[in-house]
């Protein structure tokens, strides 16, 4: 279908475009930005005046909960949440049940996503069988089935020899390994940052060194093996500093942070708010400031939603017993815009952290609106205010620490491969 997006402010961070420009789409691809192509007759004209036309968002971590946790969320609900949030491509971590450690499971997930025909789903395969940290998965087979990288999700590999072998094997084929740094012994039973709030509330704590020790191991092994390493959900100032110096020394490591950690700190736990039970834990305000400066100077490449819908029963429990996680797909855009405003970034720079940068980590030709690119587009109103009302979220997960917050910026249209999949 030929679509003409008229009068919008086109922001394309990769191509350094930020101006009022029309966009023309045909056969699922961008055919022109600016000039009307010869003989172009639009079937659909979208009036985007007053709106921002941006590449569809790319989310590095969105749990769809399939297979195995359908009581928390299903592909149907979470894909609708994704497009309502302007997310057109997402990576889903392998911590399903069973974990994504066999090609059949990955094919099934890809197949189910394709039938729904909404956002593009990119499974991240399990690095070790059952995420147990003992045996390698059939990585090449998993890539053939559709995996774009390998990860342990939140499960640790305690055996450093296995970790090294996994990296070596992945490096053989040029696959990326995405790891969240957390030492499992130091983090054992912990539910909150080892700081003032955990001390006052008597909550079992996870020290920062749980992150930095695991991170040092990962960085050392990445240097040793030459694997493409991506660090997931960095949470501490000391962690940011380790990545900064690794990058300065020339290591090709990338890093993301969850939007929750960009905005919240341990203080938000208040009187044991289980919506702030997150993994990694919310850390101190000093850590949050360091995460933000890491985003500013490029030490942290991308922001993800770390979408983790949890059913209500699993959240309505005392803090330490509550399941970790928060819903996020529909809040990613407004929270990135909020961060951009607070830290005085241009809209383009803010959006790069959820478009072109994560695409680079994926190794995906997406996250931009160049002529010839797939027409994955997010059209949003950057000014409109709305209040986060869990009941109004499309995601089956209603658990968010941002409940009641007035946020700015709302998706109006989402297109995936040139098809209008969402509008409001």
């Amino acid at each position: 279908m030929k679509i003409h997006i008229r009068g919008g402010r086109l922001i394309d961070p990769k191509n350094n475009i930020d101006e009022i420009r029309d966009v023309y789409i045909s056969a699922g691809k961008i055919v022109s930005t600016g000039e009307t192509p010869q003989g172009f007759v639009a079937k659909l004209v979208i009036d985007a005046s007053g709106l921002v036309v941006a590449p569809g968002l790319i989310d590095l971590a969105a749990r769809l909960r399939e297979p195995g946790f359908e009581y928390m969320a299903t592909l149907e609900t979470e894909m609708v949440a994704a497009i309502a949030g302007g997310v057109t491509s997402l990576a889903c971590p392998p911590d399903t049940d069973p974990p994504l450690d066999e090609p059949g499971l990955v094919e099934m997930l890809k197949h189910r996503a394709r039938i729904l025909n909404q956002a593009n789903v990119y499974p991240v395969g399990a690095l070790t069988s059952g995420l147990k940290g003992h045996e390698l998965t059939e990585m090449a087979e998993l890539v053939d089935a559709g995996c774009i990288a390998f990860s342990q999700a939140d499960a640790p590999i305690t055996d450093t020899r296995v970790l090294m072998r996994a990296m070596q094997y992945a490096a053989t084929f040029g696959y990326s390994v995405w790891l969240r740094p957390q030492d499992s012994f130091l983090a054992k039973n912990g539910v909150a940052h080892d700081g003032e709030v955990a001390t006052r509330c008597g909550l079992p704590a996870i020290p920062v060194c749980a992150e930095t020790i695991a991170l040092s191991t990962m960085l050392t092994l990445a240097l040793e093996t030459g694997v493409k390493l991506h660090i997931c959900r960095i949470s501490s100032a000391a962690g940011v500093e380790l990545i900064r110096s690794a990058k300065q020394q020339g290591l090709a490591v990338t890093c993301d942070v969850s939007m929750n950690h960009v905005h919240l700190s341990e203080m938000d736990i208040g009187y044991f708010d289980s919506n702030c039970r997150l993994s990694p834990p919310l850390r101190s305000q000093r850590d949050r400031a360091a995460l933000r400066s890491g985003l500013q100077d490029g030490t942290i490449d991308a922001i993800c939603s770390n979408h983790a819908p949890v059913d209500e029963d699993a959240k309505q429990l005392p803090f330490a017993e509550a399941e970790a996680g928060a819903t996020g797909l529909e809040l990613l855009l407004p929270l990135v815009l909020k961060w951009g405003r607070e830290d005085k970034l241009t809209l383009s720079d803010a959006l790069s952290k959820v478009t072109v940068q994560p695409a680079r980590i994926f190794g995906l030709d997406a996250g931009h609106l160049s002529v010839g690119a797939a027409a994955d587009v997010c059209i949003f109103d950057p000014d409109v205010y709305w209040k986060v009302d869990p009941g109004a979220l499309k995601s089956q997960g209603k658990n968010t620490p941002f409940t009641g917050l007035e946020i700015q910026g709302r998706v109006r249209y989402t297109m995936v491969n040139g098809q209008l999949v969402y509008q409001t």
Binding site: T199, C201, G202, Q316, L317
Partner: protein, 320 residues
């Protein structure tokens, strides 16, 4: 319920007792003053003669076993003429798959006026207070490592009884602060009442991160920490600390952090020694101190009933 302080109602009156942290000093003093009027009653003179809670029902809801604390709440409620129901939920309903929410809903449906709650998880009392019917009052009888406010208040009552004032005291808390709900509640109660110097004495493995931000001075050397103190608050050492690599042995712990007459000699001559019980004699405290002239440990137990009566009658909104 007030947004800022979940323990107070919109008029600033005590609605739940969940923690001593953030409790206005006026309310703390009111509890202590009211407890003083109950001391005679709780000495056993006039057992059923205080009908302040007549017709009210108090549910002791214990998700974690504790005979001693439950009994003192039971005695306090009965002396106020309340109907008392003891529910040792322990592992029973949770092991049958019932959620805490379901349990709370069921108990609310039984028309209780007051829940006395003990739970192994920090924050459980706040959680229950958030979900109970608005007419029900919640008293935290200990939640995880977080708070044990009635214990701290009875400790404050005991200190006031012997020392009269708070503003000129040096108080040392000795032992496993990291895992202790009692210590956390004591620290906030002491600082609220204006004690100028609160010390904690323990090895680093038994102290939480940034404990000094709670307003205490940290000592690792017990001899130094006890110097010139007016009050020593001992904490119970759980046996499982030896397994978690927090301590090498009970023997070494006693040698360096057990309270003996020799170590106590560093404190002021009229120092009082307290312990929340049950004591591990020969591990955190020597019998000669526990039974010695400076010990007020049994007085604490007696005062504990009066303090719990005071809290219950205040929550019920009855004036005396």
């Amino acid at each position: 319920m007030s947004v800022n302080n979940p323990q107070l109602n919109k008029d600033g009156k005590l609605h739940h007792l969940l923690t001593t942290e953030g409790l206005p000093v006026g309310i703390v003093q009111e509890i202590l003053d009211r407890a003083a009027t109950f001391v005679d009653v709780s000495d056993g003179l006039d057992i059923n003669n205080v009908p302040l809670l007549q017709g009210k029902s108090v549910f002791n809801v214990f998700f974690e076993n504790s005979t001693r604390t439950r009994t003192t709440f039971e005695i306090a409620a009965k002396r106020l003429s309340a109907d008392v129901v003891n529910l040792n939920i322990g592992e029973s309903s949770t092991s049958k798959g019932e959620t805490l929410m379901d349990t709370v809903d069921n108990l609310c449906a039984m028309h209780a006026d007051m829940f006395v709650v003990r739970h192994a998880q920090s924050g459980a009392a706040h959680f229950i207070a958030r979900y109970v019917d608005p007419g029900i009052h919640v008293i935290n009888a200990g939640d995880g490592r977080h708070a044990h406010p009635t214990q701290a208040l009875l400790d404050m009552f005991t200190i006031r009884h012997y020392k009269k004032e708070f503003h000129n005291l040096r108080v040392a808390i000795v032992g496993d602060v990291l895992h202790s709900r009692v210590a956390r509640s004591q620290i906030s109660a002491l600082t609220t009442l204006g004690v100028p110097e609160v010390r904690v004495i323990a090895p680093k493995t038994l102290l939480p991160t940034l404990v000094e931000n709670m307003g205490v001075r940290v000592y690792h050397d017990m001899a130094k920490g006890l110097r010139d103190v007016d009050v020593v608050l001992m904490l119970r050492l759980q046996n499982e600390r030896m397994q978690g690599a927090a301590l090498p042995s009970a023997g070494e712990y006693f040698k360096y952090y057990g309270l003996t007459e020799e170590k106590l000699a560093r404190a002021k001559q009229d120092v009082i020694v307290m312990h929340p019980g049950p004591m591990n004699r020969g591990i955190e405290i020597d019998s000669s101190v526990a039974d010695g002239p400076n010990s007020v440990i049994l007085a604490q137990v007696t005062f504990g009933i009066a303090v719990r009566m005071a809290v219950m009658s205040m929550l019920a909104g009855v004036s005396k």
